[in-house]
Symmetry: C2
Subunit: 250 residues, 2 copies
DNA sequence: CTGGCTATGTTCGATAGCGCACGCTGGACA
DNA sequence: TGTCCAGCGTGCGCTATCGAACATAGCCAG
């Protein structure tokens, strides 16, 4: 594997003060996150938190009849397993790797110990959680009011923001599971975007050709989430948001 | 008014240990929460947190075109203004009183001070926040996959759980705004429930006649949220040690 | 080169919810 | 007692999405 790995590829870890980072560093464990890997299951006991670096993970809620919907996307800007420090130990959600890559994991107890110091780690994690809540809430509204095509744009942009390239490895079938719609609905929406020259796709590979065009086609939900995440996490250190929408906001 | 008011009608306040409660009690201020009152607006600076006692408040996300959707309901089991302690100061949501009543408010700084002690108040609030996250996420899935009638049942039950009676004062028009659907859709669903003998309604007043029947008609989302809230907040109470986060974890 | 699998394209009827328009009614209020 | 109107009922056409079935096309293994 020619790629180099470093915990600080994760923005939260990168934002930690030296003392806090050093206390955790020895316990961070690089783990591969292959496509489809389930980091935790609905209701299961969480043993670790995960800091993705190059992977992207979806938080899914699965209904009894098997239908599902993605409620949030977590990449190198975030952490998985917030219920470990929020106090619940488990959540009713499922975390599935949506884009293969790597990340670091940390034993639950190490994170709890650090969290209980009530220092920078606590405040950083709570701010991130606040951003995550915004993403979930906006997803709820988007599910209610916006079209499949708009939601596809939102999903593409949210994923793109968490990748170093403009290529997503993702079949339409998988996307449909994330969005909680039919595969055919994704085919139709993606076909429309392709005819408009915004993307090109072929057999599980999607290239974004015209990001500004996508940002024009997306519903407001993307910008709301993006703006709120930036606001909440702007002052946390070396996070790269050069490609960001609305960078001159506020 | 003949009704007596006490802060401990709010479950979170009631769950505080004596020392913590006493520190806050002098700063708690009884406030009326009339129907339609906006406790905070999207993006506005929050000056207080609110602990409802008899009122019920809806958290709404409002889109640019005026469409809206409720993402959570908060009553005497909870608190409004979590972004004050989560660190964001504001949120993109709007809080509207859905059922008139009373509550106590507390200056943001008093809550922050208490929160920063990193004691029972912090852990109690975080557990509640975790329950709130579950409610939001389940709402997102419900918006995607379930019918208006199922969602109406969920909404009725969630409201009922936060009221001392089985009567809701609420027009179908208002409910439609909460659920993010048309008024006619609510009329149709409510008519169906009434013909089934589960509820009776008339001009802004809804009586629940058969709660078990409603629980049978509702989608799973209600039970998921309820179970998770009970689990997260079951062991709260004076003198309990749930604030020793994972202290004796195996 | 060929079979077989996976990903995508397409069609068709069914349905839920939308947007709109209009009608009815009970109760508040003059 | 009469008026008004908020709250509710209902009908109509429309669209997005669903559910299911089937057709094509790229790609890999043998």
């Amino acid at each position: 594997m020619p790629v180099s790995h470093a915990p600080k590829q994760n923005h939260l870890l990168a934002a930690l003060p030296v003392a806090e980072f050093d206390r955790l560093a020895d316990h961070l464990e690089l783990v591969a996150m292959p496509l489809g890997k389930v980091l935790y299951e609905s209701g299961g006991q969480l043993q670790h938190v995960y800091f993705p670096t190059t992977a992207i993970v979806s938080l899914l809620y699965v209904l009894e009849n098997g239908a599902s919907a993605e409620i949030a996307i977590v990449g190198n800007e975030g952490i998985l397993g917030i219920s470990i420090f929020m106090g619940g130990e488990t959540t009713p959600s499922r975390a599935v790797v949506q884009s293969a890559g790597y990340g670091y994991r940390l034993g639950a107890q190490y994170l709890r110990n650090e969290f209980n110091r009530a220092g920078p780690v606590l405040h950083l994690l709570l701010r991130y959680t606040q951003a995550l809540i915004t993403q979930m809430a906006q997803t709820a509204v988007c599910n209610r009011h916006h079209s499949v095509e708009q939601q596809l744009c939102r999903w593409l942009l949210l994923s793109l923001d968490r990748l170093p390239t403009t290529t997503l490895t993702m079949t339409q079938e998988l996307i449909s599971n994330m969005l909680g719609v039919r595969r055919e609905g994704v085919t139709e929406a993606a076909g429309h975007l392709q005819r408009a020259g915004l993307i090109h796709y072929s057999r599980g590979r999607i290239d974004v050709l015209d990001r500004p065009g996508l940002e024009h086609a997306v519903c407001e939900c993307y910008a709301v989430v993006k703006r709120e995440s930036d606001r909440l996490l702007a002052d946390i250190g070396p996070g790269d948001k050069s490609h960001m929408l609305g960078a001159s906001e506020s």
